[in-house]
Symmetry: D2
């Protein structure tokens, strides 16, 4: 008998893990979000980006841009469409991961929607961490203005000089000196750190180089304006710098923050990561599915509206199959992400981590392929500024590297599968146990 082990094997088919429908209480909220995006966010989107083109500061906003955004944010807050990313939070706004997943798919369809409802990464993860492990002082100083949407934040984990897929490689150091931590090192691809509204970072540092591997790291709060924090420049994503949001390259030189800026406690950086990464990955994946839906719609519309050799492109050669496969894979991915969200709700983030890795490994890679096929059917327009496809591709391709590259997640899932059988010495198939004939034939 297989040894029971944490994993994604379905186990009993009779449990509630497969009820993937939205809860009844979430339905009105979901519907309100759909309506709000259609009525309030969609109408300002083009205008918002147009205003941005006229900005003077590359790493700033154009005249009127933030006012436009803040107006919609105020409406969202007034309507209670705000901060619902926190499951079971004491503030009471929380949704289950499953219910939130449905909403995340809608947020993925408009580039401003997440921020308008105060559900943007990395603020969501930062707020979740502060809410769960912050001290009252930390909450008052940073969580309150984040929850109200006054400031934004960043999360500094990845480093340029090491393979960050192995977190034990983290090299940025924090050393106690008096009652202050002194931080030195480099981080890069710190998304959002270019935004002038970004005021606070959570930084992953190595505090205990001689401790056991998963107790060497800590997470610590560093205000952006702390002396010694230097923005070396923006990292590009397929040639774009995504200003003013930005994915910044930072250097920390003798950056000093008070001991009270430590989160949860020295050596507990890993523990905090487990907390934040599960929900964040689910949100990313559901937004990815929203992006795939959008790409498929563009692919089909273009395929029907352009003709060559006497037929709409959509009906030429393999295109019908390409479209069919995209639809089937989108539905399969959607069910898998909902299943993972449900697992988190039922068993907690730690137990459900195999499911989270499964969808993180599965979704961005396939969504990249779907967007790529949509590009192909558009011809050169597909890689141009006339469709969102090139930007969507860059975003999804980046996801395959962020929050753990695909490889790490394949290994998490694969190892869990091995564990189920590892201590089990039932003899393998072979001459002694074999049997002539066919196991199962067509019938």
């Amino acid at each position: 008998m297989p040894v029971p082990a944490p994993g994604m094997h379905s186990g009993s088919a009779t449990d509630a893990a497969l009820d993937l429908s939205m809860s009844e209480q979430a339905v009105p909220l979901y519907e309100a979000v759909v309506e709000f995006i259609a009525n309030e966010v969609d109408p300002i989107t083009d205008e918002f980006f147009r205003l941005g083109e006229g900005r003077i500061e590359h790493w700033g906003y154009g005249e009127g841009q933030l006012e436009l955004l803040d107006g919609v944010k105020a409406k969202a807050k007034a309507n209670g469409l705000w901060n619902f990313f926190l499951p079971d939070a004491e503030t009471g706004e929380g949704l289950s991961n499953l219910d939130y997943a449905y909403i995340a798919a809608e947020l993925g369809k408009n580039p401003l929607a997440s921020e308008c409802l105060n559900c943007s990464a990395p603020d969501t993860g930062n707020m979740e961490v502060l809410e769960r492990v912050g001290t009252p002082e930390q909450k008052e100083r940073w969580l309150a203005p984040l929850l109200s949407g006054e400031i934004r934040s960043a999360f500094a984990m990845t480093e340029p000089d090491v393979a960050s897929s192995d977190a034990r490689n983290i090299a940025t150091s924090a050393v106690m000196d008096g009652d202050e931590w002194v931080i030195n090192g480099e981080k890069y691809y710190i998304s959002g750190a270019g935004d002038p509204r970004c005021k606070i970072m959570i930084v992953m540092v190595r505090t205990n180089p001689d401790g056991p591997p998963h107790r060497q790291q800590s997470q610590i709060l560093v205000p952006m304006d702390t002396p010694g924090v230097e923005i070396l420049g923006p990292m590009h994503v397929f040639g774009a710098d995504d200003a003013p949001h930005g994915h910044m390259h930072l250097r920390f030189t003798d950056v000093r923050v008070p001991a009270s800026n430590m989160l949860l406690g020295e050596g507990r950086g890993f523990e905090i990561s487990q907390l934040r990464l599960g929900p964040g990955r689910i949100h990313h994946c559901m937004r990815s599915i929203g992006a795939a839906e959008r790409a498929l719609e563009l692919m089909v519309r273009r395929g029907l509206n352009r003709e060559a050799f006497g037929k709409p492109l959509a009906r030429l050669g393999k295109n019908v199959e390409v479209i069919a496969k995209a639809r089937i894979e989108i539905e399969a991915m959607r069910l898998m992400v909902l299943r993972a969200a449900r697992a988190m709700d039922l068993t907690g983030n730690a137990e459900a981590r195999i499911w989270v890795s499964a969808v993180k490994a599965m979704v961005p890679e396939r969504v990249c392929q779907i967007i790529d096929e949509a590009i192909q059917i558009h011809g050169a327009t597909g890689i141009s500024q006339w469709t969102p496809l090139a930007g969507m591709y860059a975003g999804q391709r980046t996801l395959r590297l962020a929050d753990g590259p695909d490889e790490v997640h394949w290994h998490v899932v694969g190892r869990a599968e091995l564990t189920r059988y590892e201590d089990d010495h039932e003899p393998a198939v072979g001459p002694d146990t074999g049997r002539e004939g066919r196991f199962s034939g067509p019938s």
Copy 2:
């Protein structure tokens, strides 16, 4: 706005279509099936095949073989584990498609399980058709002994000389002569027609060559022993003839059956197909997932039990990724098949046919790949008689050709996707509606 059309697009996320859990009333039955297979079917399986090796007639059974089987069948019937494939049947044994799907996955794990519980293809489809559209006389003569497990049956649709993926190609003719139908033509890959217990066939014939395309065909009952029915020989499946079950090549020469053998009515052959194929395809797909589970288990066990270059094979090179992908794809396929079964329960076979095509296109192809990877990790043993893998591969590869080849199902899904937008003249993306900048970036 997209024109609403039948399809697999998820529509409202708030409906019940995503509650994929087994119904409470089915749980005891499911558990009884699992237990019955473990306690009654598994123990006789090796013995059953061993007795078959000693048979004298190639197209018959060995001494004691059927007695062994009939003993278990009698127990199953006595325990009420019998004929539960008919949803909502008047006989009252029926399960929803969703509940049955869970059971089908269990049946897929043992090659005798389906027959022991009187749930073998093609009997299930034939019984379903007779139960739904048979006359009282037809039911008494053929449905009763099928339901009691006394006889077996076949379904003769595919023909050797035409592309049967386009059903309008059916060439076997039935012509009225007096009060009899006279049938001429050839059919092949008629599974089960080699079994001496097979007494009746449902045959797809062309009765109205000048009618509209989908009204040209009829389905008619032909007893196996009718004069003019000739078995030309067995068709092979990767070299195996699967005797005594067999996939036979039949010739019909002036085969005469009474007018009352017609099912439902002349020209309604297509209509009957719609009825039978949905559930049958779901059952096949769930059994396929059972097979994939078995292949994955064999792959992992072998990978852990053999070493090369100082490591278990499972930990060499890409094997962990291969195992992880298999697990992820099995879970995705399972959810999709359950989703399709649920769609059939909620909207009926006709409305749910896009979902059924989606899983028929998706599942056997991927299961073939998983079995192929399991073969690879076994080395030469993987293609030998020492594992069930080669036979499982042949079975799943055949499924990609049976009940509509993959290509037909990709097209059903692709066309449904096109239909959603086809009459919709919203301008496509292009210079006039385009907008500079990125649609969505990593964050």
Copy 3:
């Protein structure tokens, strides 16, 4: 017997088509090119791009930038490393396509090399066309300064409003009015049209809308400064505008050019395309292989220099297989491109077009995958400005859409294969010709 048909089927194995080695006379030139790039081009490359960063005009060059480039060009010209892209040209500098292919692979490794040796697209194709079909006046006016590297040029074929993969869709019209052609329409992705040195375009126009499909188009010379030629803006490639080179969106409004600007003759636009596209595609494909080599080198170096989980990345999981497949595919592609170049040399561009389509369909898609895998092993650095990979990816992805999208080339190859058997009524395999038993087994 198959009907002989133009195609890529190898035919007699005994002919010279498979001698893919460089000719003896080309060896010194090839070696000189390799040396020149190493000694003259590589050393100025970083400096050239650095000077460009300081430019004032976005669509211009920085101070000293062109002087730097012109210095190297002068040296190349003085050394006879110039214009060797024209096979069998009367000017005598020509190389066979096969010999040139070897050189093109070297040019693909440095972004300035092509231009330094006056072998940049689209100038090469434009010069080839002018050399072959230009009138003495056209040659003097435009070919001479192109051959000497004084000016640059563009080729305007693709249009934003139609599927240009079907050339019959070309909508830009040219109508005779007196002794002038009057041109109206739009073109986009006109590469190089942003460069201030670009003085002349060859434009594909529709002159005979009622003619037979392949006689409706003409190619005509249009100086960039002709009144009515308007640059609407740059088209982006994954977010980059590639200034100052640029891929421009142009509008032609009552643009008038003299009748003598017509190339070869009215209605012969297709004929000219055949002339230019074969060699151009070969050059692109060999440069692509150069890019793949570069990506593989970066992948391996990175994989060896970074560690995670106690091992270099290159030795983790599937990475060794990924590297092996890249190497194998690069060698296979190289042989195929050389084979296609050889076919052009032996049979001419028209006969060899199936081979050209074969490599155009095969190479860019696989090179995209190899670059993508190199990106993955770099982590976030792979999509950044710190490696050339993101730019290389964008370039190769674009090639899958340019000069005929992949789909067109698959169809050219597939149709040629069908043609070999199409009029051949030898009975297919089936019951009458079948034979029991196995055709070939392992031995």
Copy 4:
């Protein structure tokens, strides 16, 4: 600079490695082989297999079967079309590997051709070994009757209980006792050992369990009728036992052979393997390409001869692309195998082993896919006895496991690529060497 290392990197483009054309002296032989197969072998093929169906002994031949074969063999020998598999043999019949590769592709098209010309595996490899390392006595006793086609032989390497991909796992032992070796162990998948004409085996044994890893094994001659050699039964290949050739499962119990039966010397088993495996793998791969050609022809013919939905199957959906890709991949594989054969001729088997692994890893996997696609277009007929496709699939699938599974060959190629850079500490790309901007764009 990369450290030079053995590998498949093209090195100098100017050497003769890329002249892949057949030598002039081989042309008449090649043409004679093609003609001989058409005129002598093809006409007896169906008859040969028909006679086999009537045989009484399952592990024997039918009446007249061997006479038919021997007649053709005599003609081949008389015409000098015999034994040309040995490059540079002292017997003078040898061809270069390149020339032989062209002939092997022809041999792959008829299941009897190899044997008719005395070029069957495993006899070819066994003869090659005996010719190169055999003592005069060994040559007289075994090589002479093999060269004359009187007897056949087997090669016993693979074992059922270990992962034979790691040759250090070989467990069959040979121990000196007096002047005899005493052999104990099991081997399986010993192809040809079922043939009554098979008289001699070369057996890989472990003689020096405490020696260095690659000096522990020896190869030794064991006559089939030696006491203690027991055939346990045939191993199946996808359900077929391939009688009377067979892939046998053998047990060695205290099998005693004289010391003089050792080949080359104790501990030199690996060395001998290197000798035989290179050419054998090339031959297999060229025969595989012959099989792929045949599958493609069947696919196209079937696709043109069957209609559905108003069109020939070949023109429906993705089928044209499938056909195009098959043609392109066949040509790419052919060039690669020729390239590997050429490398063996120029540098010897040891130096060329990376090339041999490259084609062994590349070819059977892709040929399996091509055959699988040919099956799909045939519908159920594709897996039946009415086409050779199922048998061809089984044969090619087996090749992915024989002579080293794919995984071993990917690793050989991948490791060679790593070796080129391994000791090279040039800094990887990164912030210090990075440069803004694009490396190469479309032009």
